[in-house]
Symmetry: D2
Subunit: 307 residues, 4 copies
């Protein structure tokens, strides 16, 4: 958070069929539907998130991620970050307040990985969903499905991890929590954090320029992941892999697909990583164990299917 | 328990390399080594079991199960069961007390599935391991690995499920808890219980006559299964599948192999089934979901590899 | 189960205010309301129970337990058990089928502890609630509150434990799983089981003749008990104690009160006890640890307040 | 972390009997003993912590806390923070490097609550205990007792919460995560965080000037807290309260005492709190629920006993 960027604030995901997708994210994942805008976009959030939305679904011809936005602590920091982006040589777009309902102005840039990112400092503050600000209960009644707590991070594929790391670490103030390094000592995956989270974004270097591997949502416990798996089965949802543990972050995980083929993760637990902690390195030859700690084998689908 | 048979009392498993196997069952699975006999056989038990042993390892040229033994409540019941087996037409062998150290006389018969079974009424009573009989603590210090609580059941493959069911239900007093039925209405798998357990033995009808699919051990919780998976990875043990939930029994499970290729299961939770409860039926076309509830797909290995 | 008695089949509980009680047992405990009879009694069950009901609430002037009923496997066993009760010197009442809707004839007797018990062999078979008999899902949608799985047992206080044990063990076929013994070697508490459950009824010898200490309901996990405690707080329900672990049975527990002052328990886990296992003995001087394993101190309320 | 302070880095605790205390913190709490210095002080850490130590035990005539230290990201930030402390009017002591073995220079100040605090930027980096920096396993073998993961925070009692808040928020860069406010609107408890943790220190305003209420250690899960309670009982350790959930932070907790009467907490779970999130307020009249969410009643001991 040293440059004022706090956390992932939102992601806009393209879906092929809005009502099927709303059902998926609300009834199965358990996000809260908080708004539909005049363009037909649907706004969602996890119940612990204090802003109006963190996921935006937009109907489109092909699935994938339109952009990922980061929350900045105040406008002064946003101004400074904008200058730093420009100084670094990034082209920057200014999206006026209101383009996303309830959201202030956004500063957008295109990353070397082939994805659009944005920064914003203002969004309607609604507090956590379903519990009071004063004397709050432990959790709200009426949560659905997996009871996802928050949008947590995305995994993004594409080109030039070296440039990406330079941009996200040197310019934006992320720190490197974990990495995968190949036999030549070249990093092929970077897990970058803003606070003590295991990561706030994951970048994989491969030929899937602009590829969207998954959006991840936090749930509370390993037992919650068992229930998540049960719900995936009960709802005839396409499972990718899990429940299992990751080697990287050591968090517990289950992967599945939304009706448009976008991969979702729900996870629980995992290591914390302070900025003064050395990055944890995984050798690419142990990639199976790094990703799926129990089986130590990657399924082909996990490596190649993305949107 | 209506004919006096209480539970699975022991299984004798063939292993190729005794010391590697002892390491596997003691350090990884967490069984307690309680004896080595003059033949070099190794006796083991789960810590909650009150008799001297429940698993016997014997070195041999090929892996597999030699026999599975059931504990009978008293010798009077054993006499009656022997008469009933003979009356049914079973050939019966009498193994004298002491052939297995600490175990009384055993009545052995060959089942239609191609496996040897035996009944016994006496075995040295040692109490639960590591905790006192009076004012016992919740669990003992010094448990290793997965901390397996008890030998629970075996899954056995082979021929003529109809005859097997007749023998185990009508003659021995098991009840049918769950079954898998094919499109012709023919049962291809039977899960048989003596008490309220989900099953005390599972029989699958296929061409693997006398096949030993797995021996299963109870552990306490789903979190224990996460640790089990971690230990499988840390010890470079061959994982078959899991952690996941079963459809049949709805218990949680992880499968892996001992160094000789015998499959082990550790599981937690699962349904109970009283004798007045109707059997639960799974359609063979849903076999994937019946076995692996989350993925709903069977790996080929699970169906074909056994010892 | 050696005499054919399977398990606790029902308990009739007196409540002061029916609608408040229905709310408590349905919305908080999570039982399923399955019937209201012409007398205004309300019939409930846990979702895993296969018969029409296991709890009957009846409005009355003072709280407490009217009677506890046990399920017998068939009418032939019921006939034999009736003869055995009479031979033992018990007075027996015959309640005709239909006095409780959906329930067959009941054989009622008064125990030395000052409570009414009954045996029955027939009750409407409805199957588990909310899941199919074929290819059943892991759990039903729509469960409420603590999602109690089944009525499990009662703890009953009163006189002459010696006679009670004689009746329940010698005549009815229970076995003694655990006991508390005072310094004179006299048993002051008996935990009696029909199968491998930690207990199917608990008797405490003290001056509260006919006292109803609690009815207990099974829930799935220790995490479920955390949620139970949360719901007790959220609904401003009177907590007695917990969550914690018991010494006796080593199960995990939380105690609370229904709106009429009847104590409820929900519990998870705990030891199993086969009939060939020696009873586990607790010294009365360790009663605190035997009841509340963590604090090792009994609250006065737990010892003295009952209905 | 906006002023460069990352987290609690160490606490020095006074104990009456060093060997009994070492046994408590190592065998029961599960900290790793990493050093004994020439003064006889004992250095400990949780296994996930990357620096050489986080707890220092010193033998003394009376129990309590000598000082609590915070890790600063670099010396430049330490210089700035020192200037800010001086500018605010704090008296500052300079402790040279090496006064605590393996620790760089420390800047010490006395807070309005009556406690000594210090800042440091350098301490020997040892990495997490028992797992490799490259391709690390999920957890190390050989952990003892409760397997405490890290020293997490202290709760400190004393005077003038208003001044304390000014110092910690305005000068040191903490943010207010939760507070308890009395009927006059005056805050009586403040929970202050440096990152997204529920808190990095808790201050209670009462007459116990310089009072040390407890040091808290993170463990992994609610099931870990059950084990912690079991171990407290097995080792005849004095329990204060729990396991239960807090209202404040909604974490799960158990309190107990070290052999010198210093209170310890181990906890799991709990809310996260970003700096842009409004503080959560509890009314003092709900203090019982705020502290012990299930019972909603404070034991007198919890409010008054401290060292």
């Amino acid at each position: 958070m040293k440059k004022g960027i706090l956390r992932p604030g939102h992601v806009q995901i393209r879906v092929l069929d809005m009502e099927a997708s709303v059902k998926h994210y609300v009834e199965l994942v358990g996000l809260i539907l908080t708004h539909r805008d005049s363009q037909g976009r649907v706004y969602l959030k996890g119940w612990t998130e204090v802003e109006r939305f963190s996921v935006v679904l937009v109907e489109a011809d092909k699935p994938g991620m339109d952009f990922m936005g980061y929350k900045v602590i105040d406008d002064q920091s946003l101004v400074q970050l904008t200058q730093d982006l420009l100084a670094y040589g990034c082209q920057v777009e200014h999206i006026p307040a209101g383009e996303l309902d309830f959201c202030g102005r956004r500063v957008r840039f295109f990353g070397p990985s082939g994805h659009w990112f944005e920064l914003y400092a203002e969004k309607e503050y609604t507090g956590r969903w379903g519990i009071a600000e004063k004397n709050p209960e432990a959790w709200p009644r009426g949560l659905k499905g997996m009871r996802a707590m928050r949008f947590d991070h995305c995994q993004l594929h594409g080109g030039d991890l070296h440039l990406t790391r330079e941009l996200f670490i040197d310019v934006l103030g992320f720190h490197l929590a974990e990495q995968v390094v190949n036999e030549e000592g070249h990093a092929v995956a970077n897990f970058l954090s803003l606070s003590t989270k295991a990561h706030d974004v994951a970048f994989i270097e491969d030929g899937n320029i602009g590829g969207f591997h998954h959006a991840s949502f936090l749930i509370d416990t390993w037992e919650g992941l068992l229930r998540a798996g049960d719900l995936i089965s009960m709802s005839d949802t396409s499972l990718d892999f899990g429940p299992t543990r990751h080697g990287i972050t050591h968090g517990q995980t289950i992967y599945f697909f939304d009706p448009s083929g976008n991969r979702n993760e729900v996870f629980a637990g995992g290591d914390f990583h302070y900025p003064d902690q050395k990055p944890i390195t995984w050798d690419e030859k142990h990639l199976g164990k790094a990703i799926f700690y129990h089986s130590r084998v990657l399924n082909e689908r996990f490596l190649t299917v993305m949107t």
